[in-house]
């Protein structure tokens, strides 16, 4: 009898528990929106697109490590007291990069995170309501431009890379992807950029300036074709940029002046703002000489990184009278320890109201780059035409240099390479330009020559610390970076870049 009562009680308890429990166990993070509830309307989609732009800031902050430091443009303000960097940033200068480089790992993660958000937003956009076709097209165009830009960078770093253009259905699908042949990566980049060219406007209304435009898509597509040595396509594409209303600034330095952001010469910039919480840049704090304190940044409590220091090689490369030298390189700082000049990049050094927060945008594509690419594409089709000289000389004139004429194809090629080097110095194109314009064997010789010079007579003194045997020895395979070791640990089927 008692047992029966207990059974009844038990059942009553159980039933009550279930009825009482409704909603009690459904908890969601009150501080965040669930992804299920997002991507539903035009405002949310615009925020998702903006979010992808936002990821570019993180990428631009560290891009100099992979794009400028390995080149002959920059070196480091050697810190004899901090050898912990030997296997990190310094490796990009000394050509001792290995798969365990933490900088490479974080770069790889940042790129694919950005790509994921672009892919995801593109996919989710199909299910949104209230989105007009034209708004949808502009959103798609921007995302595809960004995706193409990211893949272009990735394939310059690694050659064959994993190509992923959809959000994963389930996380385990991530293991099914292998590195794609570079030509297929280029096919995807071209396709994205062609869509972007069609979808994107030439200009944006106020409040949207800074988004990717048709001009940006054309310029990047031109750069891709040039890299692929598809010179006819490059010329056709880049020619379409000319009528879009771009021009060179009168003053070269204006292109980097935070007071004159997104000017007439600007085609695509990564936007920062010192006055907005979390949106400021701080490039000069990375680039100013280590012991410069406030001498360069203007804030005495600074402890700058001393990275990406202009080499003697580029400082000497400027022709006499080139106004770009003074706009690009600072030579007025002397180390308090050695008394010797430590040069620094001046392009991103501007006064700013708050310590640590600069207003400098990062220039990605400028009109002068387009002009020089066009000249290059024309020259590679056979010989420098008048048109090619027009573009080259337009850039030179602005720099206060005399016009050139009557050069052979080979000399014109070298002249352009030099012109690009000084015109686009420290804008993260030099390493790609070197790789594009040289055969792997030539690149190896070229870099080892530069490296030998820098090793024998470093731009910044090493204060008696000898080099290691492996420093400044460049092998051909090092034109491509290794896939970060973590990725291969996680997915052992992934192949490593040959040589590593």
């Amino acid at each position: 009898m008692r047992i029966i009562i207990i059974r009844l009680l038990a059942i009553t308890f159980a039933l009550s528990a279930v009825s009482c429990a409704k909603n009690y166990l459904n908890k969601t993070d009150p501080t965040k929106v669930s992804t299920d509830l997002f991507y539903k309307d035009p405002t949310q989609l615009e925020q998702a697109v903006n979010g992808v732009y936002g990821t570019l800031q993180g990428i631009a902050n560290d891009q100099w490590i992979t794009n400028e430091l390995p080149s002959d443009n920059t070196t480091i303000d050697f810190n004899p007291g901090d050898r912990g960097q030997s296997d990190r940033i310094e490796a990009f200068e000394f050509y001792t990069v290995n798969a365990n480089s933490t900088n490479l790992n974080s770069s790889y993660i940042n790129y694919y995170n950005s790509i994921y958000n672009a892919n995801n937003t593109l996919a989710k956009m199909q299910g949104a309501t209230g989105l007009s076709d034209s708004v949808k097209a502009v959103n798609e165009g921007q995302l595809k431009f960004i995706r193409a830009y990211l893949y272009f960078e990735l394939t310059q770093y690694y050659g064959d890379v994993i190509l992923i253009t959809q959000p994963l259905v389930q996380p385990s699908d991530a293991w099914t992807y292998q590195r794609e042949k570079q030509e297929n990566v280029y096919t995807q980049i071209e396709s994205d950029l062609k869509d972007a060219v069609n979808d994107l406007p030439v200009k944006y209304e106020a409040g949207h300036i800074g988004r990717a435009t048709k001009g940006a898509a054309l310029s990047l597509l031109g750069k891709v074709y040039l890299t692929e040595k598809k010179y006819t396509d490059a010329v056709t594409t880049l020619n379409q940029v000319l009528p879009l209303g771009y021009d060179l600034n009168t003053d070269y330095a204006d292109a980097f002046n935070p007071q004159k952001k997104n000017g007439i010469e600007s085609i695509f910039e990564i936007q920062y703002d010192a006055a907005i919480d979390g949106e400021w840049s701080s490039f000069i704090y990375t680039f100013a000489p280590r012991l410069s304190a406030g001498a360069v940044t203007g804030w005495s409590q600074s402890n700058p990184g001393g990275w990406n220091i202009p080499t003697n090689d580029i400082i000497n490369a400027y022709e006499a009278g080139d106004t770009r030298k003074d706009a690009s390189v600072g030579l007025n700082f002397k180390s308090p320890v050695t008394g010797l000049t430590v040069p620094y990049i001046k392009k991103y050094a501007h006064t700013h109201a708050v310590y640590g927060r600069t207003d400098d945008n990062w220039p990605v594509l400028r009109y002068s780059d387009v002009l020089l690419m066009l000249a290059e594409a024309i020259n590679e089709q056979g010989a420098p035409t008048t048109e090619a000289y027009t573009y080259l000389n337009k850039v030179r004139e602005r720099a206060g240099l005399s016009d050139l004429s009557g050069l052979s194809q080979a000399v014109f090629r070298d002249t352009l390479a030099h012109e690009r080097r000084v015109e686009l110095a420290f804008e993260n194109w030099r390493w790609f330009d070197l790789k594009r314009t040289m055969t792997p064997a030539d690149l190896t010789t070229f870099i080892n020559n530069y490296a030998a010079k820098e090793k024998a007579n470093p731009t910044v003194t090493r204060q008696g610390v000898p080099y290691s045997n492996t420093d400044y020895v460049f092998s051909q395979y090092e034109a491509l970076f290794p896939i970060p070791a973590n990725e291969i640990i996680v997915n052992p089927k992934l192949t490593q870049t040959p040589g590593y």
Partner: protein, 1021 residues
């Protein structure tokens, strides 16, 4: 609207008791009576049986009983745990007053179990009770200390010496890779979480019981698989009021034998000089000129200053004090216990401190024969002066080892010499003494815990108990770093900065328990059904500031730039559970329990889980055939099996969220959103299936007790953060994969005797645990944690969790010929480590391909031994614990034996490789390069085997016969804690575990452990 629901929720069952109270029953031909103990206090729950029949009843809450008999008279047999059984003649209609005598045997104790108590002799699960009498003189700043060395299968580690720090506790090995592995703490029936925190006074504790196997812990469902620690606080004892006043005072020091030996100023300059000269000798193959050595190192013998930074950061003779007052009293109806305590521990590092004020009021009362109520209220305020950060190379302790010894602590004018090193190729650090004294880093944690219950007895055998528990925790933290404090390689002045944080938590739970207890004939049955719901919510508020007008106003209002934020998170669970304990003929024991639990943390599709457990026991000693074996007082075989869970994962781990990632367009802020993680709607708890077999034995009049135990716990659906290929957009993902086994043996024995006036006891335990990963069912079958230069741990099938992983170091390359004939190591030069070519491809690749398991962080066995005795007024005790057969990866040596010359290094560095003629001791590399030296490799592995004489105490008790003195007794004692460490391990603390989880066994230096000498006095009035 959801909130309304959840607030009402815990009370859903309080109506039920009404339902029972209206049910009634009749009786006839009777004997009635009351049962009391020797002091006259009522004894509840005594069994009264009429001899020769199967009729039996139990005494009620006031000790009263009524039993019906056949005929005019009968003999009653009265038994109760803890008392000697009596036979009493009784006649019909009479009223008996029966006094029971207490029985000293431990076997008759009642042990605390989940949601109830049980007679120890009837226990069929694996339960250990901490011997608090043995630790009464130990200086306790955190009550987790009381578990040290007390129970087999319970690993207690003091990984840090931070004042007031919680000890690290694991029950039966590490059962989880990705979710927490700390046990659930239940204080007076209230599950407070997987940590006890700092707000708890150890002196308030009456009993600590550790539940280890599934039948004991399955009643706690999804929180049971890491074991459960049940803490019961003191309550008033029957009798006259007792006032207890105690105080103790101690001093703490680091014994010099436990300090790491670094180079002094001159030796460091010599080391630097040698580096410069050796590099030129090797790379340029010539004898250097003395002028090539920088001036500061050229003449080491001229170095005047030598600072031992580690010693400089220590607070010698740091005081420890404890004051405690309690008043307990009990009459028949009301028992109460009031206490107030103050504990203060100054840290062994300068300017660090912990103190805690606590007050407690526990009161239980009987309203009438059917209703009793109780209330327990505890409030604590803990204050910490923290060192800004102590763990690891870059923080105070690590930095004090590697900072340049040639700089002084203070300038000639008495001010601090702020920036240590930072020139001549040496890392710059903040003066650690100045960091400790001038950085303000404080936390205040206030906590209030209250439990209230009402218990209603009805129908003789039924009880309904409704209880409500609540916890409020207020935690505020403030840190201010003045502008003159340097950073690492960042000389001052810098921006002053402040960080403020407030975290407020409230947690409540409600339990509704219905129990049925009955004894009839040879049967005793105890049935429990219950329902519980618990809800926790935490709100946070944080703010930071930089750019202060000066360092004198460390408040946000003086900061030019401020940031702030707020947050909120929480979880909830509810569960229905039941348990049946059944005993037949005092010989055959059965127990079964079941819990169905739901948790807000788990995925939409898997909100609820079931946790059953069963067990059986056989008391062989009660069998007739054993009756001739008189020396054996108890022999019991028992076994249990059950399923428990572990829900220690992030609150919203199953869901995916957007996070802010804003951008700028046209010089204006635009809001941007990106995905912050991947969702997993099938995320659920880890499930452990545990088998336990045990034997309990008592002999020689219970002088000797012995327990042996075997267990095998297999955890399935292991929660893991799985590393994802970055191409997915993320680097990890939380999922239920993997399977881990922990199995082992536990032995515990205790012997207690009295030879004339000398009492002696000795008790020891040994635990042998083996853990093994059985499967990792993810896309990759191994999990690597850590990093290339900081030591790896690998978890893969067939190996223990977090096996230490790296290159196997075969020695140092003696010369170029040695390099040439060995597998290719790119960039190797003489003096770097020679590694084992694990994949036999004649190349050591600079990644994990040639790495192998190089160490096991889990001891082969651990043990605890305590012994004590008393003679007349004197008593003494000793506590020893240790662990044998395990490895530690001493990652700090990548810095303290960094051959770059940027840090100060260990004295042992003199044994390093210099050249072929001076190859050193064969395990220390050259200063000529860094490659092939600091990678995760076996060079950094040391055996951690150790034995601690953890505590030695002696006491003198004085019971004055003269009534002139105010007190009843006085006890004086002296105690030494963390007394002697026996080990070959070169670090200061072999229990260190800087990263924990699946990154076990790494020593990167932590807050050092002090030796404490304490004197104390206890007065009883």
């Amino acid at each position: 609207m959801k909130n309304k629901h959840s607030l009402l929720r815990p009370f859903c069952f309080t109506w039920l008791w009404l339902f029972f109270s209206i049910m009634a029953h009749g009786q006839s031909q009777q004997v009635s009576g009351i049962i009391k103990d020797e002091t006259g206090a009522a004894v509840e729950g005594a069994d009264i049986i009429v001899k020769g029949s199967t009729k039996g009843v139990q005494s009620g809450t006031t000790g009263k009983f009524i039993i019906s008999i056949q005929g005019a008279s009968a003999t009653l047999i009265i038994s109760h745990v803890g008392f000697t059984t009596q036979e009493v003649p009784a006649s019909a209609g009479s009223t008996q007053e029966i006094f029971l005598k207490r029985n000293a045997s431990a076997l008759n104790d009642v042990v605390v179990i989940g949601y109830g108590t049980q007679r120890r002799r009837e226990v069929t699960g694996a339960i250990a009770v901490a011997d608090l009498a043995a630790t009464k003189d130990v200086p306790v700043a955190n009550p987790t200390r009381l578990l040290l060395g007390q129970a087999p299968g319970v690993t207690v580690k003091q990984a840090t010496g931070r004042p007031g720090g919680e000890f690290e506790i694991n029950v039966r090995g590490l059962g989880s890779l990705g979710a927490g592995s700390a046990p659930l703490y239940v204080v007076d029936g209230f599950p407070v979480g997987t940590g006890l925190g700092q707000n708890f006074n150890g002196s308030d504790i009456e009993n600590i019981t550790i539940l280890k196997d599934a039948v004991s812990t399955a009643i706690y469902g999804a929180r049971g698989s890491n074991g459960v620690v049940l803490i019961t606080t003191k309550n008033g004892r029957p009798g006259a009021p007792v006032l207890n006043v105690s105080s103790s005072y101690g001093i703490q020091n680091i014994p010099s034998g436990r300090k790491v030996k670094m180079l002094d100023g001159q030796e460091f300059a010599q080391f630097k000089k040698d580096i410069f000269m050796d590099k030129i000798r090797y790379f340029e193959n010539r004898e250097p000129d003395i002028t090539e050595v920088p001036l500061n190192y050229r003449y080491p013998e001229q170095v005047k200053t030598s600072t031992n930074w580690f010693d400089a950061t220590l607070h010698d003779n740091a005081p420890f004090s404890n004051y405690y007052v309690s008043l307990s009293q009990g009459n028949n109806n009301v028992h109460s216990f009031l206490s107030a305590g103050y504990t203060r521990q100054e840290g062994i590092l300068l300017n660090t401190k912990f103190d805690n004020f606590s007050v407690r009021g526990n009161i239980d009362g009987k309203v009438n024969d059917n209703i009793s109520m109780g209330l327990r209220v505890n409030a604590d305020l803990a204050t910490n002066n923290l060192a800004q950060a102590t763990e690891g190379r870059d923080n105070i302790v690590g930095a004090s080892l590697i900072a340049d010894p040639r700089d002084p602590i203070r300038n000639p004018d008495g001010s601090y010499f702020a920036y240590i090193g930072g020139h001549d190729g040496v890392f710059g650090f903040a003066n650690p003494v100045m960091s400790l004294t001038d950085i303000q880093s404080r936390s205040n944690v206030g906590q209030m815990v209250a439990n209230a219950f009402i218990e209603i007895s009805f129908l003789k055998n039924f009880k309904f108990k409704s209880s409500l528990n609540g916890l409020l925790n207020y935690n505020s933290y403030k840190q201010f770093v003045p502008s003159y404090i340097p950073g690492e390689n960042a000389p001052p002045p810098r921006d002053a900065s402040e960080a403020d944080q407030q975290i407020n938590t409230r947690n409540y739970s409600a339990d509704q328990l219905l129990t049925y207890n009955n004894t009839f004939g040879s049967h005793r049955i105890n049935v429990l059904v219950g329902y519980t719901a618990q809800d926790e919510k935490t709100t946070t508020l944080n703010a930071g500031g930089t750019q202060y007008a000066n360092d004198l106003t460390p408040f946000l209002s003086s900061a030019a730039l401020k940031t702030n934020g707020s947050g909120e998170y929480g979880w909830s669970l509810d569960a229905f559970f039941g348990r049946v304990n059944y005993v037949f003929a005092e010989k055959y024991l059965f127990s079964g329990s079941f819990r169905r639990e739901g948790s807000s943390r788990f995925g939409e599709n898997v909100k609820y889980g079931n946790f059953p457990a069963v067990s059986a026991g056989w008391r062989i000693s009660n069998e007739n055939f054993m009756s001739g074996v008189s020396w054996l007082s108890d022999l019991k075989l028992r076994g249990s099996w059950g399923i428990t869970g572990n829900n220690g994962i992030p609150n919203y781990g199953s869901l995916a969220f957007m996070s802010n990632n804003n951008y700028v367009l046209d010089n204006n802020l635009v809001r941007g959103q990106v995905v912050s993680n991947l969702p997993n709607p099938t995320l659920k708890w880890e499930r452990s299936k545990q088998l336990d077999l045990g034997v309990d034995l008592a002999a020689f009049g219970d002088k000797l007790t012995f327990t042996a135990e075997y267990y095998d716990k297999i955890t399935n659906d292991m929660l893991l953060s799985i590393p994802l290929p970055a191409i997915s957009g993320f680097t990890s993902y939380l999922a239920n994969i993997g399977k881990v086994q922990n199995k082992g043996f536990e032995f515990a024995a205790r012997y207690k005797t009295k030879v004339q006036s000398v009492g002696l006891w000795v008790s020891g335990n040994v635990s042998i645990n083996r853990n093994k990963v059985l499967a990792i069912n993810g896309p990759s079958d191994q999990l690597l944690a850590g990093d290339f230069y900081g030591g790896y741990n690998i978890s893969r099938p067939g190996s223990p969790i977090g096996a230490i992983f790296g290159f196997k170091m075969l020695g140092v390359f003696k010369n170029q010929a040695d390099i040439d004939k060995s597998p290719f190591q790119d960039g190797a030069i003489p003096g770097v480590y020679k590694y084992y070519d694990a994949d036999h491809n004649d190349t050591i690749s600079y990644d994990t391909k040639d790495m192998v398991q190089i160490g096991n962080p889990w001891p082969k066995f651990t043990y605890g031994l305590s012994a004590g005795g008393d003679f007349k007024h004197f008593d003494f005790s000793i506590l020893i614990n240790g662990a044998q057969g395990y490895d530690i990866y001493r990652v700090i040596e990548a810095s303290t034996m960094n051959m770059d010359g940027v840090f100060n290094v260990l004295e042992e560095s003199k044994q390093r490789y210099r050249n072929e003629q001076n190859p050193g001791n064969g395990r220390l590399a050259t200063t000529n390069t860094w490659k092939w030296e600091r990678e995760s490799n076996s060079r950094y592995i040391y055996s951690g085997s150790h034995m601690w004489i953890k505590n030695i105490s002696i006491g003198y008790t004085f019971n004055p016969a003269t009534p002139k003195l105010m007190f009843k007794s006085l006890r004086l004692y002296a105690s030494g804690d963390n007394m002697f460490l026996f080990t070959k391990y070169p670090g200061s603390n072999p229990d260190v575990n800087n990263r924990g989880g699946i990154n076990p066994g790494l020593d990167d230096e932590a807050y050092p452990l002090a030796r404490t000498f304490t004197f104390g006095a206890n007065f009883t009035f």
